[in-house]
Amino acid sequence: MSKQNTHGKTYKFGMAIDLDKCTGCGSCMVACMSENNVPFKKDESDKKDSITWMRVYKLTNGKSFPETEICYLPRPCMQCGGKGDQGHSPCVSVCPAVATDYGHDTGIVSQIPVRCFGCRYCMAACPYHARYFNWWDPKWPGEMEKYLNPDVSPRMRGVVEKCSFCYHRYQAARDKAYYEHREEIQEQEYQTACTQACPAGAIAFGDLHNPSHKVHQLVKPDPHHSGKPRNPKAFRLLERLGTNPKVYYISEKEWVRKAGDNYLEGEWKKMNKKHG
């Protein structure tokens, strides 16, 4: 894994989602389904087997009427870097078939369906429920096969799938840059489908190594602590697991930031004092 060919430009692609701007409209979910040939079934109400690479969760502050507040939290694959950002993501570490791997040149965790034989260890290992198993053959009823995107292979029964940060869009941008004799791809050349679709502009996507990218400016990742956000309003999900996600969330609301992990009584206060 560590012997991957990484010469040339390396990136660390990441995402920052402003939860105060997200309204839970669902555009990101559908843009993702359309871009990535995600299938659909007659009944999608059992969310455990409903394949949604991007899923929007609804959070509540648990207070009773009229103090209730709600917030939506879009959840793509976190593209974990693992401890010390060395590529030991929870899923990559357990895959017996090298069907999922860590891209050291992009920071993206790949998922190659033709290598997967469906053991689902990765699903058990993923703390974010970002992985889905194809229990049935995906079907595109009627003439719907005609709208499938050739850049993303349709999956088949018996394999696991997940968000790839629209890796095919990165490939296209990289090819274009190569063709134009450029070393580096531009921020706007590679954007995921969900980022582009968000009508509220709540999602920022780019290179976490590049201080000129919006995502970097929003979260101010700390290179000495595996990209931990230095923006006090930004957080990552289940930070203490050391999975080092590349998806950051931003909210002015304390209860929302607190919902990003399970804290013991009094722990939150102590933690925030230390950082504050």
Partner: protein, 714 residues
């Protein structure tokens, strides 16, 4: 180390065993992967050259600009069009699902004619002459006034062609589906004496007070307002949301005021009383309050003092005062009304009360305020030649509303409507008291549907002339009237029709041409495209070049007079929620969820997938109640219950939500479709069948927003 014979043999055997056993492990892993996934039916999408084409969405009245990515000529992905004046790059999930409409499972393949209980396919020639013959015969037998026409939209050349057809034919019964803009236009007429659209300059307001308007639930032009809401957060513009249920808009707002459902007008007038009493109104504007100012002042200060309105609205007097002071004190305040998506007509008194707030702060035609826009007049149709039959029809007045028409049909023995044309309107699903509407439709002997899909209304039709979807046809699409800027978009085909369909514009032109003289000469065009090009006149070039045109860049008039006598004249005339409070102690309020369409367009499979399992589970849908209410009636989360209203009853499940006011039942709109599409239909309950029509005596329109209801265990 000495290698003896025993060791040598052992190593040799070990090597052989290793060589034999190891590859099968690897081979089996590989084979397993192949065996589990090498299915011949897994599609391999064809590759090709990537191109982008621009068009305009017409799934709702927002009319966003879309960019369609095609691969080898095949559309594969839809996104928002960058730089478009309506949506500037954004798109909603329904627009993005557009290709699921194009290849929709309930698309109608060819013209259909009802034969007994089933439909049979016929040719376009047969279909057109069948309709023309029937309508000709009716016209000749003096029954010209017995045909009616309902279009989903009011504006654009296609509705205009239908309107023109009805006029030439000699029937006054042309209707379009009402929405909040219908009510706002009445407000403009009653309070400003103008025949104008009311647009809201939300982009430039600095304080938005919304009386239940779902800015992020699809109100007005949905994506436009999503952007307004997001920019508002960057600019620090305050949003105050008045609503009894914590909607997504309320959750996104700076302040949520949970007022009792139906008390919005009282709250607005109470705020007016504070503004009057504390003289917070814009006195420079005072010169133009030409009538009713002092009467209005007297009315609100005596009748709507905050202390008096406390119990009625459920909002503390001190809070009403704060709201009023903050509103009047803001730089560019703006009050809006039209509940949820605003896709039904509203209560005129409520809209007028909200508008009185705008008048008092003097924001009419001001930056960040209310714009009185003249109705768009970019369409120049040639003068009509009316014959005697048409002249006679033109003298008659239509019914006050579609509801009135439906009641007339179901009320009498023989239906006064003998033929009904329905375009972009799924009234057997979208209208309140749905069962009664269906009964009325069954009484009409000849129903013509122009639907692209076999929806609830098309199923009841006698003949269907299927339309192409917005991705396959030309159409001019004026933006929602609630936008301060008027934009016209052009839908252009990005895909050849995938079914044997015909643009409804063409269909109506062809029917008219097949009619006898009197009607046919009013339709001089060969085909709809020619008509579109000629009636849009000067606008055609920018429309066909850019795909859109902005038509109201003119600066609005500064001074507008405001007549506040409305409230003294119409005191007490309000639509009321049906049902006796003792029998039905709770209130059912359907709510809009951006992820579910509730209009004539049925939701797509992609969009259904995004709906929470707290709204749909299997074939059932949920109603939201406050945990306190649930305790009172003895139900808990997930329980199966029966919800009963004066209009009907339905089986649902209970979902507990702290954000619903106790005593209220929240229920998602847009579910319970009964079409033959298992991916989207047969899920949950259509709220419209539980809501009775409640006519606003001021407008004659149905203004029901909810209904008294009860929940019982089953």
């Amino acid at each position: 180390m000495k290698v003896d014979r025993r060791c040598f043999l052992g190593l040799g055997l070990g090597a052989v065993a290793g060589a034999v056993v190891s590859p099968p492990g690897m081979k089996l892993t590989d084979d397993l992967a192949i065996w589990t996934q090498n299915w011949p039916w897994t599609p391999v999408p064809k590759d090709g050259k990537v191109t982008y084409e621009q068009t305009t969405c017409s799934l709702c009245k927002g009319n966003c600009g879309l960019s369609v990515r095609k691969v080898g000529g095949r559309p594969v992905h839809i996104s928002g069009q960058e730089g478009h004046p309506v949506n500037n790059g954004g798109a909603c999930l329904h627009g993005i699902s557009g290709l699921q409409y194009l290849y929709g499972l309930t698309r109608i393949n060819a013209p259909l004619k009802k034969n007994g209980e089933t439909f049979e396919e016929i040719s376009w020639k047969e279909a057109v002459s069948h309709v023309a013959d029937k309508l000709n015969a009716m016209r000749e037998n003096g029954k010209a006034e017995k045909i009616a026409c309902i279009t989903g939209k009011e504006r654009g050349s296609i509705p205009e062609l239908f309107k023109r057809f009805m006029k030439a034919y000699g029937s006054p019964h042309y209707y379009s589906m009402p929405d909040m803009n219908t009510t706002w236009r009445t407000v403009a007429e009653k309070m400003h004496g103008e025949n104008a659209d009311i647009g809201f300059d939300l982009e430039n307001a600095t304080h938005i007070l919304s009386f239940g308007s779902g800015l992020v639930e699809g109100w007005g032009s949905p994506v436009h307002n999503f952007r307004v809401n997001a920019q508002r957060k960057d600019k620090g513009v305050k949003l105050v949301q008045v609503e009894p249920r914590l909607s997504n808009t309320a959750a996104s707002a700076d302040r949520w005021i949970p007022a009792i459902a139906g008390s919005e007008a009282d709250l607005a007038l109470s705020m007016c009383s504070v503004i009057m009493k504390e003289k917070l109104y814009d006195s420079s504007y005072l010169v133009s309050y030409d009538t009713g100012f002092s009467a209005f002042s007297g009315l609100v200060t005596t009748g709507y003092a905050p202390e008096k309105m406390e119990s009625k609205t459920g909002v503390a007097a001190s809070e009403i005062k704060t709201l009023a002071r903050e509103f009047a004190g803001a730089g560019r305040p703006l009050a809006i009304a039209g509940k949820g998506r605003g896709d039904t007509a509203g209560d005129l008194t409520e809209f007028a009360a909200v508008h009185a707030l705008n008048c008092l702060v003097g924001n009419i035609n001001a930056k960040g305020g209310v714009r009185l826009n003249a109705s768009p007049d970019y369409l120049k149709f040639p003068e009509m030649k009316l014959d005697a039959v048409a002249e006679k029809g033109a003298e008659k007045a239509p019914e006050k509303s579609i509801d009135a028409l439906m009641r007339k049909i179901s009320g009498t023995g023989q239906s006064p409507v003998q033929a009904l044309l329905m375009q972009d309107a799924n009234i057997a699903y979208t209208m309140h008291d749905t069962d009664r509407v269906k009964q009325a439709l069954k009484k009409v002997p000849f129903k013509i549907s122009f639907s692209s899909f076999m929806d609830e209304t098309a199923k009841l039709a006698d003949i269907i002339l299927p339309s192409p979807t917005f991705l396959e046809r030309y159409e001019d699409l004026p933006s929602d009237a609630s936008m301060s800027r008027q934009v016209v978009g052009l839908a252009v085909p990005v895909q050849k029709p995938v079914k044997n369909s015909m643009n409804p514009g063409d269909a109506v032109i062809r029917i008219a041409k097949a009619m006898k003289s009197g009607v046919s000469e009013n339709f001089p065009w060969k085909k709809y495209e020619d008509c579109l090009e000629s009636v849009t006149g000067k606008l055609w070039d920018p429309l066909s070049d850019k795909g859109y045109a902005v038509i109201s860049e003119k600066k609005p008039r500064k001074t507008v007079s405001a007549d506040l006598s409305f409230f003294s004249v119409n005191k007490g005339k309000r639509p009321e929620a049906a049902g006796d409070r003792t029998e039905y102690p709770m209130m059912l309020v359907p709510y809009d969820n951006m992820r579910i369409t509730s209009s004539e367009v049925t939701v797509s499979p992609f969009a259904v997938k995004t709906v929470s399992d707290e709204e749909i589970k299997g074939k059932e849908s949920f109603v939201q109640v406050n945990p306190e209410t649930a305790r009172k009636i003895g139900v808990s989360r997930g329980d199966k219950v029966k919800i009963t209203t004066p209009a009907g009853s339905a089986a649902v499940r209970i979902d507990l939500f702290e954000g619903v006011m106790p005593g209220l039942i929240g229920m998602p709109k847009g579910l319970g479709h009964t079409t033959d599409n298992p991916y989207v239909a047969g899920k949950g309950v259509n709220t419209n069948q539980l809501i009775s029509v409640s006519i606003d005596p001021n407008t004659g329109q149905d203004a029901a927003f909810g209904i008294n209801a009860k929940i019982s265990r089953v």
